[in-house]
Subunit: 219 residues, 6 copies
């Protein structure tokens, strides 16, 4: 049986899952593992509060246990990486998170990282993560576009807000690379990069790329 790399969207928004799946197309290859993007139907429509994160952590863990035998690995596709440290406790499981890998990848693309969040309430949670990761000195700013996950589907307004926020990170915080702080922003990477003129990291792509490398290497 071929094993599957599961990319878990822990919110129940299938638009987000579809956007992620499309973004991952360039990473699929004939001799690589199957990549499957799944939606956790029991999850909230968007993971925005700490309560959302805690509930999603339990769901992600349950999914990982259920798929332990057929999984090549798991990627948590929410920028708060719910359940990541929990599924890492399952022996022999490859587990990567998009927040972690998004920022780690950005660290190799520019010195000063700017992060675009969806909502102000997410920012303290993310700041705690950068500090917990020991990389906070590289994050020069994190600013929110002020839109919920659901509202990301209004493409025009979302892109406009992302460009405005990215421009502020570039000009005021001196960022030289941007990380999109929500899996639901995946469709806007190229457009944002073209508009702002800085490299932009789509974190689910970053995490899956790192996962694929690890799977090929067997470590």
């Amino acid at each position: 049986m071929t094993k599957t790399l599961y990319v878990i969207n822990p919110n129940s928004n299938t638009d987000v899952t579809a956007g992620i799946a499309a973004a991952l197309d360039p990473l699929r290859s004939a001799d690589g593992p199957r990549i499957e993007c799944v939606t956790l139907a029991e999850g909230p429509l968007g993971i925005q509060t700490q309560e959302d994160v805690d509930r999603a952590s339990v769901l992600v863990r349950q999914f990982a246990e259920l798929h332990r035998d057929d999984a090549a690995g798991f990627v948590t596709a929410c920028f708060s990486d719910p359940g990541l440290h929990s599924i890492r406790e399952i022996p022999g499981v490859l587990a990567l998170g998009i927040s972690e890998c998004g920022v780690l990848t950005a660290l190799s693309m520019g010195l000063r990282v700017g992060v675009i969040a969806i909502l102000d309430i997410s920012i303290p949670r993310h700041l705690r993560t950068w500090a917990a990761m020991g990389v906070k000195d590289r994050i020069v700013g994190e600013l929110a576009i002020g839109r919920t996950v659901a509202e990301l589907s209004d493409r025009k307004a979302t892109l406009d807000a992302m460009i405005r926020t990215g421009t502020t990170l570039r000009d005021t915080c001196h960022a030289d690379v941007l990380v999109m702080g929500c899996a639901g922003m995946a469709p806007y990477r190229q457009l944002l990069q073209d508009a702002v003129g800085l490299p932009v990291v789509e974190p689910t792509q970053a995490a899956v790329a790192m996962a694929l490398g690890r799977l090929r290497l067997g470590w």
Copy 2:
């Protein structure tokens, strides 16, 4: 109706709850709020893994919502502070955690803080917390006694291990204050302090003391 300060033991071990309740006796006063230590019966016997923490986070939040109206405030009495950031999202709720307040109190008692954990697997989680709190430069060492929450009830073996570990933190890591890294260690504070000769913080006492101050001040 007089409101209650709830001290939540998120594991289902009533011995731990009893130990906490006894430790809090000196903080009860005639004109202060009622302090009630509760056991979450659905919680695990000990909160040791990240999975335990995530599950407990959801339970703590549920408890806080249920008691929102009659609560003066909540203290999470587990050294991983499950659910703390979640219940802080409930408007108007005073919420303090023992890991946070234990370390903050220690910062006013000595320069170099040593932490005594129960198990090695807890340590990386705690280290992430010290970093997320921005206080990691003050923690000179965290070492485990290698005993589960359940095993803490063997008083002789537990105290011996705590003294051994505290002595190493004092002599090798140059700690000048110790924090006991598990609510279940509450009964051993004075004995440990006497044996090692350093001030020792019992974190539930520290958190409840800070909570009582906040309640009196009304902020």
Copy 3:
């Protein structure tokens, strides 16, 4: 003999002492220790320069030695904590400082701490303290209102300046909790909090609350 918790205002401004004493009223309780706020008559009218701090340090130490036998503990009620580390060298003495406890308490109330100083010349001294305490990563900004201790008695102008400064800390530095950086600001806590919409720490209250907890616990 009942022992007394001495709250030492090391400047000679009795208005400041009166303001502190009033702010501490909610912390007095029938079964708690006596709290006495004292003014050091030999101290300067305001502690503003490093020279002021050094001179006050000696005075605070002298006071503590004089009252060593009848003291339950000492709180240094000046935001530069003059003499704090000196009186900590007296064996068996509980000694807390308002700058230290004000910030430690704020760390449990919001992620990003903003500090309101009286004068620009105090700020480098405070910044050295945050760094020495190992908590500087949590202080997102410290700004001065540009008024001496004596000038704090002009209530209208002082409050206006504090609100202006607090608003800048909130909007420009993204502070989510404020610390008032002078004992003389005590009367303005509630008004400032109401105006700016962030929790505000009055540091003498914070320090005395922590001291009372320690006294009840006997450690």
Copy 4:
């Protein structure tokens, strides 16, 4: 014309190049880019001193300019990443370094990273790099095996020394993941991991895996 991902061994030791090339086999795929490991014949036999690094930096830059048109990207396969920041100044060039990517990958595999260097004289240079990268708080120790690049070919003695050093990093520094701090150590990854029982990062594999992801994604 298909473009090539050049993996540049900047020393002139072809054994090292052969070891790298073998280690990269699992990363080659039918639909991926050509991966070519090259030896810089003018380079020193081993890059051990800062002088070696500076000279190699110029050579790496010259190679990159020469191959600018046929290169899909460049990986500097020396743990001092000579020339990395220089070739990043060539517009449109993907450039990754093994020291950088080795550590970034390790950050997703364990909290406390231990690094195994070849010689003591390399360590201050590496420590400056971890600090410059802003990740030094995650590196719990770096220790040398005391062998030159040339001496790495004595497999038995090298592996023994690596296991001894890795064991010290695990037991004394509490490392939970190891990074091999020299491209010439590539053949020993699995053996070291099996002996020490911690995950081990081979940094050239890590860097090439990240490069391949970036090439597939086109950013």
Copy 5:
């Protein structure tokens, strides 16, 4: 034979060398060592890119080896300190860099250091240096005047830009001391200091002063 303290301008711009030599006049004394400012004719006209730095590093090392016997010591007079760590590997050689000594001297003159760079592309390189030196928390801002080394000879435009940038560092970043981030800025120290009202460090003067002290002390 009297030995010489060589101050190496690693770019080929003799105007810069002349400016440095004039700035060092106050440091020459009858009983002190000979101070000679040399221009590396093979160097680029200005050291602006990482490629420039890497090439200059090799030239500086070659110069040091050539003058090893008649040198009392070497100062690298370029704000990227090319070759500094390499010439430090030559046993018994006193080697100081202007970037390093400029900042170290500034740390004794004010708490919050602002740096004036020539070009934006230099800034990430400098920021990596401050972090590698472990002093980044003291640098409150580094801003560029947007002029190449060659363009520094237009005195009026350069001074205007430096004053504008220094004023921003003072008012926006709260710098209380400035470091001029290019040896070519030496002629403007006093003028800049007078205009901005903050102490200004000329880094070649700072480095040579420290070198002279070391030479007199013989360590």
Copy 6:
């Protein structure tokens, strides 16, 4: 009137002053300022506690005010730099401290700094200083020889203890440069360096050397 550079020994131990004066001989030059080492007769015999430091701070300030007109500058020759920040508040006064300049000089001599203190009780005070200076990441260890200032006059026992401590800093903490953490250790610099094989900084020499440079430069 020629102005004098005052080197203030704030303890009343004239042996210490004599040792400093001898150590400064190589820094005196025909065309340099007069250097005068003074003993503060009212100071304690050794500055060991925080209380000592606070009292000495007031004395140092008084001395500086008295000599304001005839002083070229002041160096505080006690490793706790009493009064340093106070005398910096006197406009137009050059004021340097030996603890500050000793460490800053060491930062240019090795990556990993080890400090040799006299007593354990001094160490937390020094650690707060390294953190306040923002250089704590460069200090790999500070260890005490366990001798009071007065006891330093027993040359054999003192040197033995310094060599033992320096060796531990070299071998256990990986220090590559040492700073002697007391002005009274001045006579032992060369002997310690010869015995341990690491460069050793005598901090009064370091501070006076930096002061002389500043005086020649006029900034």
